[in-house]
């Protein structure tokens, strides 16, 4: 057979912008935008995401300035103050009375200070337990999906068991045995949350490990550990991030539930859950501020994380690209300056359909 059909210059794919070797060092290199950076750019163009971030930021700031609030007002979050915190009849102050912006509770403690301190516990528990659950769930899900066989059978059944367990009951029993505490609360929430992530990661791993790039990694001598955590993990980071973000509000509500039932962190530490529980009996005689303010704080936090989670999911999902493109067009039409940076140019997505 003649060579003619194949006589194409093999270097012809290199465009005319080929650089000489010396010039190479001078060039910083053209960097492709990683899928996460693309998602971040899309997230920035999402107004709901900004709103959600604002709500979360509000709570973070509240948590951070809690000691400042306490020292500025001179109101302790822990100690009852029947002298300054209640009126001459021993009744709690309402919002705005006697310098208490959000009023006081039954034993004269400043509700504003206590809500601020409660934010610390809620955020700490929410984020820390989610982090633990995400790391554990991802690792076990990867191992389960990658190795298969009896390891998978064991771990998959364990996940089913954890997911079907009556977790409130378990938490009550554990608190009764060990006594409620912050580490125990975080541990309990993490333990009952990892399986949700583990299951998703396992399913994704099962499909990813059949891809040819895994075979390619094996052919260059990569070990199982490297294949799992360097090759497969980046391909399932998107669902993990989405699920993780959506797990935070669940964990916060879970913590509030445990505290409300008296098996969580426990008094005198102010948490939104035990503030709601404390004030239960008082709501009857019109002290609405007892429960309204912790509830609002809980609502803002969980709503913030939920909205952010939804936005993150949209930003990471390549199928929503058209939606974002439309939004960018609208923003660009409204005012080109308003959409500085990544917003205006069409973003190609990192994943193949």
């Amino acid at each position: 057979m003649s060579l003619s059909p194949f006589e194409v210059d093999s270097a012809s794919l290199v465009a005319e912008d080929e650089q000489s070797a010396e010039a190479l060092d001078a060039i910083a290199g053209i960097e492709g935008r990683s899928p996460l950076r693309l998602a971040l750019a899309r997230l920035r163009s999402d107004r709901v995401a900004w709103l959600a971030a604002g709500m979360i930021l509000l709570m973070v700031v509240l948590a951070l300035i809690a000691p400042v609030l306490s020292s500025m007002t001179g109101h302790s979050p822990y100690n009852p103050d029947l002298v300054n915190g209640t009126d001459s009849f021993g009744q709690p102050y309402g919002p705005g009375q006697a310098g208490f912006l959000l009023g006081t509770d039954n034993v004269g403690r400043d509700i504003l200070v206590r809500v601020a301190y409660g934010a610390r516990i809620s955020l700490l528990v929410g984020i820390l337990s989610t982090l633990l659950a995400t790391i554990g769930g991802t690792a076990l899900g990867l191992v389960s999906g990658y190795y298969g066989g009896w390891i998978d059978a064991l771990l998959a059944r364990l996940m089913d068991a954890v997911l079907s367990f009556p977790y409130v009951l378990a938490a009550i029993v554990l608190a009764a045995v060990f006594g409620g505490s912050l580490p125990l609360t975080i541990g309990v929430i993490a333990f009952f949350s990892w399986a949700a992530i583990g299951r998703i990661v396992r399913g994704q791993t099962l499909s990813q490990k059949e891809k040819e790039y895994v075979e390619a990694a094996r052919s260059i001598g990569a070990g199982s550990f490297r294949i799992m955590f360097v090759d497969i993990l980046p391909n399932l980071i998107a669902p993990v991030i989405v699920l993780g973000t959506l797990l935070v509000p669940v964990a916060i509500v879970f913590e509030a539930t445990l505290d409300y039932l008296g098996v969580g962190v426990g008094p005198p530490t102010p948490t939104w859950g035990n503030m709601l529980a404390d004030d239960q009996g008082s709501a009857g005689f019109g002290a609405w501020w007892f429960w309204v303010f912790p509830s609002i704080a809980l609502l803002i936090t969980t709503l913030g994380f939920n909205l952010l989670g939804d936005s993150v999911r949209d930003a990471l999902d390549p199928r929503t690209e058209r939606l974002f493109a439309m939004r960018r067009k609208k923003v660009a039409a409204a005012g080109p300056d308003a959409s500085a940076g990544a917003g205006t140019e069409p973003l190609s997505d990192g994943t193949e359909a």
Partner: protein, 383 residues
């Protein structure tokens, strides 16, 4: 390719495929490799109810610096054989001897040293590159895994490799999705080259590409063979490509090699009826020749590798099949009148110049013989 290939001397070729002259032992020797995939059924207690006999006793050798083409239709076990050679699959039985060392029973850890010398280029330029990793780290992975180069040194070597395969080294930080199919295949080639292997198994490296890009990749592979003194096992189902790149060609059918010869010899005078049919089906660019060429039409489908036909596996579709074909399996041997390197597994090899008659399938002649052995296949073949 011819300029770099080891001088091919038919006289020095042993008639047997397995034995090799001591002074020049082949780079790769495959002996009786068998790969069965078990078929399991059951939820809790899985029991094996059968097996897909993907590769059934393949023996061949690959000499240093040559390109061995491997052709056959889809599902004949080419890719499985490739993965057995590179030990991506464990072998059911048989041996893979790489540069004198038996690697067929090595553990994953022991294999690592051999992985440096034996690489693979994959068919799918999309699936074989991790979509979430940058090109630089994909190509640099072999260097990282084998601890050859780190940091700036690794980056320098990766950019060198990118230049060698005709990629712009500035694109070091891009993602695979930002490249075209041909460029992606170049990335795959660069990754395979990173460890400076002596053998590269190319598993249909161009079949997923546009024809114009195919030529570029093939030329690239040829250039690299000269530059890095590479030996290729080149799998393809495009006969024109195989004819162009290969020094020798092996034809596979249903998990077995049916014919193996020097490229010109095989394409010039095919002896196995399957090879003849395969060659007659390939397109001829010259319309004059195309009109005069005789097309051998095979009837029926490829039988299932779960339950392959008895005797010669091709007998259900062979225009020359006789009763003995369904009973006695022909060994791979040099047929009368052929040069030493040309082996064919056939009882009734095609004579030079013989026109095969693609008549109705010869099922009736052998129906009783193999209907008993494989009822479902006789049904499929007779349809």
């Amino acid at each position: 390719m011819a300029d770099t290939a080891a001088p091919v001397n038919p006289a020095s070729d042993e008639p047997s495929l397995v034995a090799a002259p001591a002074e020049d032992h082949p780079l790769l020797r495959v002996e009786n490799v068998v790969k069965h995939f078990p078929i399991k059924r059951g939820i809790f207690f899985k029991r094996q109810i059968g097996s897909v006999q993907a590769v059934e006793g393949v023996s061949l050798e690959v000499r240093r610096g040559e390109t061995l083409g491997l052709v056959g239709e889809t599902g004949c076990g080419k890719s499985t054989l490739a993965r057995c050679i590179t030990r991506l699959y464990p072998l059911t039985s048989g041996q893979v001897i790489f540069d004198g060392a038996d690697i067929s029973r090595l553990s994953a850890r022991q294999l690592r040293t051999y992985r440096r010398r034996m690489q693979m280029i994959f068919q799918d330029p999309f699936g074989s590159l991790n979509p979430r990793r940058r090109v630089g780290s994909i190509i640099g992975d072999p260097l990282a895994i084998h601890g050859i180069a780190d940091g700036g040194e690794r980056k320098r070597r990766v950019q060198e490799l990118m230049e060698v395969v005709g990629l712009n080294p500035e694109h070091y930080n891009r993602f695979p999705s930002e490249f075209s199919g041909g460029q992606r295949q170049r990335i795959g080639v660069a990754r395979a080259l990173a460890l400076r292997p002596s053998l590269i198994v190319c598993d249909e490296p161009v079949s997923a590409l546009d024809v114009s890009v195919q030529a570029q990749i093939i030329n690239l592979l040829e250039d690299l063979q000269g530059e890095f003194n590479l030996t290729y096992v080149f799998i393809a189902h495009d006969l024109a490509v195989v004819e162009h790149v290969s020094d020798r060609v092996a034809v596979m059918y249903l998990g077995k090699i049916v014919e193996l010869a020097e490229t010109a010899e095989l394409f010039g005078s095919p002896r196995h009826p399957y090879t003849a049919a395969l060659l007659s089906a390939s397109m001829v660019a010259d319309p004059e020749k195309a009109r005069s060429s005789h097309r051998v039409v095979l009837y029926g489908d490829v039988p299932s590798p779960i339950n392959p036909p008895s005797g010669c596996r091709f007998h259900t579709r062979c225009p020359k099949a006789q009763p003995i074909c369904s009973v006695d399996e022909p060994p791979l041997r040099v047929q009368a009148g052929d040069p030493a390197g040309h082996v064919t597994a056939c009882h009734f090899p095609v004579a030079p110049g013989e026109q095969l008659v693609g008549a109705a399938p010869p099922i009736s002649a052998t129906a009783t013989a193999f209907a008993a052995a494989s009822p479902d296949i006789s049904e499929g073949g007779g349809a």
